[in-house]
C-alpha cells in the first residue's frame, strides 16, 4: 500500500506555460510512462471488448478438459473445472479496472470536498475533519478494507466501497494541505477582495490549482486499489465465484500449484503488469506536472 503515500504538493510553474511543452507531451516523452499508458490501454481494450476477444465463455465449465496445460486450444491452459484461463484473465480485467477506477472515484468524491472544507474553512471544522482523517489513517489500509467488506458483506461493489473509504484519508490530507498552500496566494486574496463567496473561491479558484497533485495521487491510488481488490477477492471478500477476478483465480490456483501452475501464473502476471503500469504513469505524471523535474 505504499503507493498510497502522500505526494508532496507540486509548486506553481516558474516559467510561463506557453514556453513549456504541454504536460501530456512531457508525459509521453518519458518511455516508462508511455509504456505504462500502452499497457493500460491494452487492458482497457481487453475489458471493454472481452466478449469479442475471449475465445471461450469465462464461466463455461468443461469437465473433459480439467486442468489442461497450455496448448493451441487453450493458450493459458484450463482450470480445475475446465474453464479457459485466458478467457477468465480477459474478463477478470473488468473487475480489476472497475474496482481500481470506481473506488478511487469514491475516495475523490469524499476526500476532495472534505479536504477543501477543512483547508478553506479552518477552525473547528478543520479540527474535526483532521481528527477523523487521523483516526482512519490509524487503521492499516487493507485491514480497514477487510473489516468494512466483512460488515458490508462480500461482493465486488462492497469491496469497491470498502477500498474507496479506506483510501479516502490520503485525499483529504492532500487536498487540505494543498488548499492551505494555495489559499494565501495573491489570486485567491484578489478573488476574496472583490466579494466572491467562499464556496465560489474554493471551487473556481482553489480547486483547479490543486488538480495536478490530485491527478498524480489518484493514478497511484488506482494501482493500490487494483492490488487491494485482488487481495480482497483472494480472501473471498471481493468478486464472488463463478464471476472471474484475478484475485479469486489466484485463491483457487494456490490449491493446484503442484500440478497446474499455469492457473497461478497468468492472473498474477496481469495484476503485476496493470499495477506496474499505473505506478509508472503516476511517477511519470508527477515528473511531467512538476516543473522542478522537467
Amino acid at each position: 500500500m505504499a503507493a498510497l503515500a502522500e505526494t508532496p504538493p507540486i509548486a506553481a510553474p516558474a516559467t510561463p506555460a506557453a514556453a513549456r511543452p504541454h504536460p501530456l507531451r512531457r508525459l509521453l516523452a518519458r518511455p516508462a510512462a508511455a509504456a505504462g499508458i500502452v499497457v493500460i490501454a491494452v487492458f482497457v481494450a481487453a475489458a471493454v471488448f472481452a466478449p469479442l476477444i475471449a475465445p471461450y465463455d469465462p464461466i463455461g465449465t468443461n469437465f473433459a478438459a480439467v486442468r489442461k496445460a497450455p496448448s493451441a486450444a487453450h493458450w493459458f491452459g484450463t482450470d480445475e473445472i475446465g474453464r479457459d484461463v485466458l478467457s477468465r484473465v480477459i474478463f477478470g480485467a473488468r473487475a480489476s479496472l472497475e474496482a481500481g477506477v470506481l473506488s478511487v472515484l469514491i475516495s475523490l468524491s469524499i476526500g476532495v470536498p472534505a479536504g477543501l472544507l477543512a483547508g478553506y474553512a479552518g477552525g473547528k471544522v478543520d479540527m474535526l475533519i483532521s481528527r477523523l482523517t487521523d483516526a482512519l489513517l490509524a487503521c492499516p489500509f487493507l485491514i480497514l478494507a477487510i473489516a468494512l467488506a466483512a460488515f458490508l458483506g462480500p461482493s465486488l461493489a462492497n469491496a469497491m466501497i470498502a477500498i474507496g473509504i479506506s483510501a479516502t484519508p490520503v485525499f483529504v490530507r492532500l487536498t487540505r494541505g494543498t488548499t492551505l498552500a494555495v489559499r494565501s496566494e495573491d489570486y485567491v486574496l484578489a478573488a476574496r477582495a472583490i466579494g466572491n463567496p467562499p464556496w465560489r473561491i474554493a471551487l473556481l479558484h482553489v480547486l483547479p490549482n490543486i488538480v495536478p497533485p490530485l491527478l498524480v495521487q489518484a493514478t497511484l491510488a488506482i494501482a493500490a486499489a487494483v492490488i487491494a481488490e485482488a487481495s480482497l477477492s483472494f480472501l473471498g471478500l471481493g468478486q464472488q465465484p463463478p464471476q472471474p477476478s484475478w484475485g479469486s483465480m489466484l485463491n483457487t490456483a494456490k490449491n493446484y500449484i503442484d500440478n497446474a501452475a499455469w492457473m497461478a501464473i497468468w492472473p498474477g502476471v496481469s495484476i503485476f503488469l496493470l499495477v506496474l503500469s499505473f505506478n509508472l504513469v503516476g511517477d511519470g505524471l508527477r515528473d511531467a506536472l512538476d516543473p522542478r523535474h522537467s
Binding site: A5, A135, G236
Partner: protein, 314 residues
Amino acid sequence: MTAYLVRRIATIVPTLVFASILIFALQQLLPGDPAMVLAGEERDPAVIAHLRETLHLDQPFPVRYLYWVRGVVHGDLGESLRMQQPVRTLIAEKLPVTLELACIAIVIALAIGIPAGVVSAVRRGSGWDYGANVVALWGLSTPNFWLGIMLILLFSVTLGWLPASGYVSPFDDWRANLAAMIMPAFVLGNAIAAVLMRHTRSAMLQVLSSDYVRTARAKGVRERDVILKHALRNALIPIITLGALEFGTLLSGAVLTEQVFTIPGFGKLIVDAVFNRDFAVVQGVVLFTATAYIVLNLVADILYAVANPRMRVG
C-alpha cells in the same frame, strides 16, 4: 523535552477516541437486527437474548459505545462467539507468531532496502541506480500473495527445499521454524524493502550534497568512510522512523501472507473471524491494530525528536 512529550502524547487521545468510534460504528453497517446477524445461522433464541443483553442492543448508539469503551479500557475486547474465548486471549495467542514473522521480514527488508538505497544514491544515474529502481518498482507492484505462490512453486514444488505451508514453534524446533518462516518473511519484507530503498536513496542524496560531507571529502577522508560513517549514519535517522510507519504495510501484508502459507497468526485470525461472521473478533483486531499503529507513530516521533532536537518544535 518533557513539555514536548506531554503535548505529543495528548495529541493521540482524540485520534484514539475517533478511531474507537469509527471501529464501533462498523457494527451499524450490519444489515437488519445486529443480534440476529451476530447469532449466525443457528439463530438460537438463547444466544440472541444473550447478545441483546451483553451488547446493550436496546440502548441508543452512544450508550452502547460507552459500555463498549468501558470494557476496552479495562482490557475487555469482547468475546468470540465461535471460539467461546475472550478476544484478548485470541490476540495474545496469535500475536507472537505474527511478530516473529514481522521481525524476520523487517530484517530482510533492512538487509535489502538500505544497501540498495545507498548504492543507488552513491552511484546515481548508473546501471546500479537503474537496477535498484527497477527492483523497487517490482517490489511495489507485485501482489505479495502472488509472490508467495510463485515462491512455493519454485522452492517447495520444483526444488523441494522448503515446506509449502505450516508453522512450527521455534521452541519445538528452531530449524523447522526458520524453514517455514523464511519464504513468508521474504514475501512480507519485499514490499517494505522497496519503500526503504526509496527512502534511503532520497535521504542519502540529500546528505551527500551537504556541507559536512563535502568537508569530510576535502579533509581526505576515505570515500568508504564518508559514505558509511558520515552520510549513512545521518541518513539513517529519518529512514528508521519512516520504517516504523511501515507497520501498517506489515500487518496488511501479514493477513495475505499468513493465508498463503497457512500460518496461524494475527492475519489468519481476522480472516477466519470474517468468514465465521465473528464480528467481535474483527472489531477487536482492528482496534488493537489501530492502537498499536498510533502508539508506534508516537514512539517514532519521539525517537525522531530525541535524535534531532530541531524537530522538538512539534
